[in-house]
């Protein structure tokens, strides 16, 4: 690989969205988005279909106009700059290579638009293709390439102009699993090498958590939470984030000073979980120290709550193989029967129906095998990810 770091000037730029709104007629799809992206940062926009993540990216690329707020690149408002003058490198989900051009001509296109001299064009095209490992395919047409190769070409085409930012709109969605993971890692490596500010849109949480410096979880046209991948997983600020990032068991219980009474057992609540959820829609933060005599999020003894417990925070053991409960003091474990168990490689995921009818998902080492209808005991091995006030107060 050539020394691209010297060829591609490090052009990390600061991107600021301030109160960005977008409406299509009466339908508003972005509700005052505020997002500040540091130079050279890799930010993933993550959310379900229709949450507004692609629209936000398209607003930045100039492919959609905003109806409110400002978008600034290095402090300059670009809301009125047309797409062809924004200097953004965009990679689309549909490969979008020009079918009548060769790979080389595709990559060269942006340089031609910028009237770069022929010799320099040839050099930069060669380097861009070598950067994505496709230097030998310059003369081929797009339809003779595999999906992964086409997306690499699209990446080279977006990078060859040395844009202010790289915008990736679900670039891996159309690829098969192995190619997706490999290309994901390659994108991150190239981004790190070039130091280019990058925004990556995806609905795949694993992809977002694996690739980004920070992840903005979007829902219903707002950013529910922005943070490092680990923070999102360990300290979700809204019920939506807790449910969307990773898997959680949602268990109804009653809040108390010594913990949460859940399903006949007691779960200690510590640290982040104690903090409760922020109200994403209003921006108000419900978290606090409970200075009014109550606890976090205004919870007082006897408040009906819903706890979010990760499957890996539950311990499971067979009743038959261990009749004397080894993992919990008497009366603190839950009992139930196995509904199903699935193999995930190093781990196994088992669904248990408790005696009260509730279903809990448990993640445990793959060597622990459980058959359907087998009687098991469960215990909480960690604190819940978060606790929210249940909709109805207990009678």
């Amino acid at each position: 690989m050539v020394d691209e770091a010297t060829v591609y000037a490090q052009r990390g730029t600061r991107i600021e969205f301030a109160g960005v709104e977008k409406a299509y007629g009466p339908t508003t799809v972005l509700h005052g988005i505020d997002l500040d992206i540091a130079p050279g940062e890799f930010v993933a926009l993550l959310g379900p279909s229709g949450c507004g993540k692609t629209t936000l990216l398209r607003c930045l690329a100039g492919l959609e106009g905003v109806t409110g707020g400002t978008i600034a690149v290095d402090g300059r408002d670009i809301a009125r700059v047309p797409a062809n003058r924004r200097d953004m490198g965009v990679v689309f989900q549909a490969y979008s290579l020009f079918p009548h051009m060769t790979v080389g001509q595709n990559v060269e296109f942006g340089l031609r638009m910028r009237r770069v001299a022929r010799d320099e064009r040839a050099t930069r095209v060669r380097e861009a293709l070598e950067l994505v490992g496709l230097g030998h395919l310059s003369g081929r047409f797009a339809h003779t390439l595999s999906g992964g190769q086409q997306q690499r070409v699209a990446l080279a085409r977006a990078l060859v102009t040395r844009p202010q930012a790289l915008l990736l709109d679900e670039p891996l969605s159309a690829l098969d699993a192995k190619v997706r993971v490999r290309l994901r890692d390659e994108i991150r490596a190239i981004q790190t090498e070039l130091g280019i500010t990058t925004i990556f849109v995806t609905h795949d949480q694993e992809e977002a958590l694996a690739i980004a410096d920070r992840v903005a979880v979007m829902n219903g046209g707002v950013i529910e939470q922005l943070g490092a991948p680990e923070d999102l997983y360990r300290r979700p600020e809204t019920p939506f984030v807790a449910g969307f990032i990773g898997e959680s068991n949602r268990i109804e219980g009653v809040y108390g000073s010594s913990g949460i009474a859940l399903l006949g057992t007691r779960l200690p609540v510590l640290g982040a979980a104690r903090a409760g959820f922020r109200d994403a829609s209003s921006g108000d933060d419900e978290r606090g120290d409970g200075g009014d005599g109550g606890d976090a999020a205004g919870l007082v003894d006897g408040t009906a709550v819903r706890a979010f417990v990760r499957p890996e925070h539950l311990v499971i053991v067979s009743v038959e193989s261990s009749p004397v409960d080894p993992i919990a003091p008497a009366g603190s474990a839950l009992s139930g029967v196995v509904v199903s168990s699935g193999f995930l490689g190093a781990q196994r995921r088992t669904v248990v129906r408790l005696s009260g009818g509730d279903l809990l998902t448990v993640q445990h080492p793959a060597h622990q095998l459980f058959a359907a209808d087998e009687r098991v005991r469960l215990e909480f091995a960690g604190e819940p990810v978060a606790v929210e006030r249940a909709a109805e107060e207990p009678a």
């Binding site: 549909a94 079918p99 339809h143 085409r157």
Partner: protein
């Protein structure tokens, strides 16, 4: 089952394809061969080329002057109508497709009207319009191209619009825009090359419709090939049939010319439509691409 007999999924087996081809060719050839046979029949009995010779005999120039004028007029109108399709319809259709997709349905409905409205009704509407056109542009035959533009709109629209939808034009345009292309560059360098098959079809259909049009030109009192043929056929049916045959040959020659030009550029293969995630058009190319991808990952 033997792989060779199985054929490509979704396509008829080779013998069935050949049978369909022969059947369709037969359907077209029977009337053409009959016409050809008719032109060789002599009035006194027997077979000869007298009628063909008479048509091309300079001494008969006066008799066929109107026919020659009609042919030249039709050729001029074909060129002008094709120019209207390229210069007016193409940018408009692309603009509607890319910038105003909500208007596409209205536009589609409008393009059906020239087919839905009988030609005689169209002429009733066009006649007063043409009084104005004559006042502005004069009474030249070329003004008929405006009416023909309306007549060919449904066919041209279908041919171009189906290509636009198949090539994911909106995404390609956005990609080109993000790379710095103006809208004009997008149209000329990105969209138009991808529309080559559709434009070829639109051009051929336009030429065929214009060369075969009779009602509008006749009712607007313009001399075109079909109008002249009807006139000539009253006195010399052989000349009319020979001219019809020749016009057919010219259209077929144009068709093959375009097709060979198209395939010589290799555009058929290059313009093969492919949706994201689908296999490459040819299994060998797909295998090759996959192998190369593996090599890349190994190298990396």
């Amino acid at each position: 089952m033997n792989g060779a007999l199985r054929g490509v999924p979704g396509r008829p087996v080779p013998w069935l394809r050949r049978a369909i081809l022969v059947g369709i060719c037969g359907l077209f050839l029977v009337p053409i061969v009959s016409m050809l046979w008719f032109t060789f029949r002599l009035q006194g009995g027997g077979i000869g080329i007298d009628h063909w010779a008479a048509l091309f005999n300079p001494e008969n120039e006066r008799a066929y002057r109107n026919l020659v004028a009609g042919i030249l007029n039709s050729l001029l109108l074909a060129v002008l109508t094709v120019a209207i399709v390229w210069a007016l319809f193409l940018p408009t259709i692309v603009l509607v497709h890319l910038r105003f997709p909500r208007l596409a349905r209205v536009f589609e409905l409008l393009t059906v009207l020239p087919i839905a409205i009988p030609a005689i009704v169209l002429v009733v509407g066009l006649a007063p319009l043409y009084r104005g056109i004559v006042g502005v542009f004069g009474g030249g035959i070329w003004t008929l191209a405006f009416a023909y533009g309306v007549l060919v709109l449904p066919f041209a629209y279908r041919a171009i619009a189906s290509d636009l939808q198949g090539m994911h034009a909106a995404t390609l345009a956005e990609a080109a825009r993000s790379l710095g292309a103006s809208w004009f560059t997008v149209l000329v360098r990105v969209i138009a090359p991808g529309l080559r098959p559709g434009l070829t079809s639109a051009t051929l259909i336009t030429a065929a419709v214009v060369l075969g049009e009779f009602t509008v030109s006749s009712l607007l009192n313009r001399v075109t090939m079909q109008v002249a043929l009807v006139e000539v056929s009253k006195s010399d049916p052989y000349a009319a049939v020979i001219t019809s045959l020749l016009s057919l040959v010219i259209v077929f020659a144009l068709l093959f010319l375009f097709a060979s030009f198209d395939s010589r550029l290799g555009l058929r293969g290059r313009m093969e439509r492919r949706r994201p995630g689908r296999a490459a058009p040819h299994a060998s190319q797909h295998r090759r691409a996959k192998n190369e991808e593996k090599e890349v990952s190994t190298d990396g």
